[in-house]
Subunit: 263 residues, 2 copies
DNA sequence: GGCTGTGAAAGGCTTCACAGCT
DNA sequence: AGCTGTGAAGCCTTTCACAGCC
């Protein structure tokens, strides 16, 4: 999965399991589609199919929120939409900043799914002085120097990092120092944060690598089995690839010119 | 986790747990960085720190691959890089196609992390005739009509979907019919695929929603507890937000003009 | 009759702690 | 002495199956 936490190990908030929290947005999306089509109620079976999970899991998940269904009938769509939104904290407005306005940062700024669900892009920040003032997705890009000021004056608690890997930790430190307590990290680096700060990461290349693993397995289903370590020309075989990968990691989420330079 | 499987339930390939597979790319990245700095060996403790996991987990993970370490010493960096690369299937070349060249598709095409690890962008495909022939990341965009031909003549088995949600299932069906067996889906939809096809999804807005959940929890740590369902004006309160969210979902990963139209 | 809500069972993942090798 | 490899324990998640309510 494109995903994963970095912190907050045992603290299961208000008794809702982390696995359940991760599925609530899925249910919310499916319910929203039903709501749009003015469907008044839905059964666990139907909703589960729409969300791509099985119905027992869905019912168990909902049971952590409370008893919001009616036996023999199903769930009231509008009511559930509200309950899940409230549980996820989407009934309030969350200002977010996006740091690193390269290809990916721009795509994120343009991403409609943010703006809709209570996430308001409060600012776009980039280290390139040439970017400053340029409008991206209708918002003028601001320089990294303004970072602390932007965070504080907008009360931003969620930051998105879309810088090259080399700049990510420094940006992260500055965000945290300025008051950000949740970070969505697109840079291919492990971020170190103090206690109480949540980090989630999205790593595009990791997802592909996981697919490749399964793909390889499918292809090799008839061949007798790869066998023990083929210790032959291993070092040579991998040297070039390793170097290329390392170089790409240094460059960051966008494969081109760094959008944020180390301060 | 920006992430999640959709299929393949019990089939634990060659005995390597799914959770372990998901971490191998992380280890590989950390090892690649060490390899670059010509570090010859590394202990489980050091490597675990670099990858952001704990050392017991890392040792357990590696134990599924074989006994590649040396007691009292640690792991040979180059050797491990090779073993993990091989296990993930990265020693071979994987041609991938990206369908839907909007903001996000373009960002993906430019993403350096793909090209490096054995993933070669074989083609960029978009439904907009005006895009055809335009170069993105040095590759000329091709029209959707060519999809089947491209897949077959390049032997593509991995496809990336970055279209609006409304087009994703149709694109998926065509990819699968043409021979693709692994799909990375950025569109905010549940894809239905036949047995034997793997789907992984990356959903940008879901990650933010999960962060919002924890963020809300932090903020409300002193307040007495939200209490039972605030059944007051719920329907009205949520109607506008729900509509906005639904509209955004229809539009797709990029918040602007659809890049691929339903056929 | 139909569908939710949930104890209980099963399975998977993580952590512990130490035997075993260098 | 140091560090890996791994059984065993503990925890979390999923699935089952049915009691309980409409």
């Amino acid at each position: 999965m494109a995903t994963g936490r970095t912190h907050r190990p045992a603290t299961r908030s208000r008794g809702i399991p982390e696995a359940t929290v991760a599925r609530l947005p899925l249910y919310l999306r499916a319910l929203t589609a039903l709501s749009e089509r003015s469907v008044p109620t839905v059964s666990s079976e139907e909703l589960a199919a729409a969300a791509g999970v099985n119905s027992a899991k869905l019912r168990k998940d909902f049971s952590y929120l409370g008893s919001y269904g009616t036996r023999g009938v199903g769930y009231d769509v509008e009511y559930l939409v509200y309950q899940i939104s409230r549980e996820l904290g989407l009934t309030q407005d969350w200002p977010v900043v996006i740091v690193g306005i390269g290809n990916l940062g721009a795509a994120l700024a343009n991403y409609g799914g943010f703006a809709s669900r209570g996430f308001r892009v409060a600012a776009l920040i980039d280290a390139d002085p040439a970017m400053a003032g340029k409008p991206v997705a209708g918002i003028a890009v601001q320089h990294t120097d303004e970072l602390e000021h932007i965070i504080e004056s907008n009360g931003v608690s969620i930051g998105v990092i879309a810088t090259p890997a080399g700049a990510a930790q420094q940006v992260c430190d500055r965000l945290v120092a300025a008051g950000v307590t949740s970070i969505l990290n697109f840079a291919p680096t492990v971020l170190t944060v103090p206690d109480g700060v949540d980090v989630r990461k999205v790593d595009l290349s990791i997802e592909l690598q996981i697919l490749a693993f399964h793909e390889q397995r499918k292809a090799g289903e008839e061949t007798p089995e790869a066998g023990a370590p083929a210790t032959s020309g291993r070092a040579a075989a991998v040297a070039a690839a390793a170097e290329a990968a390392a170089a790409a990691d240094r460059k960051g989420p966008d494969g081109d010119v760094p959008a944020v330079m180390p301060a």
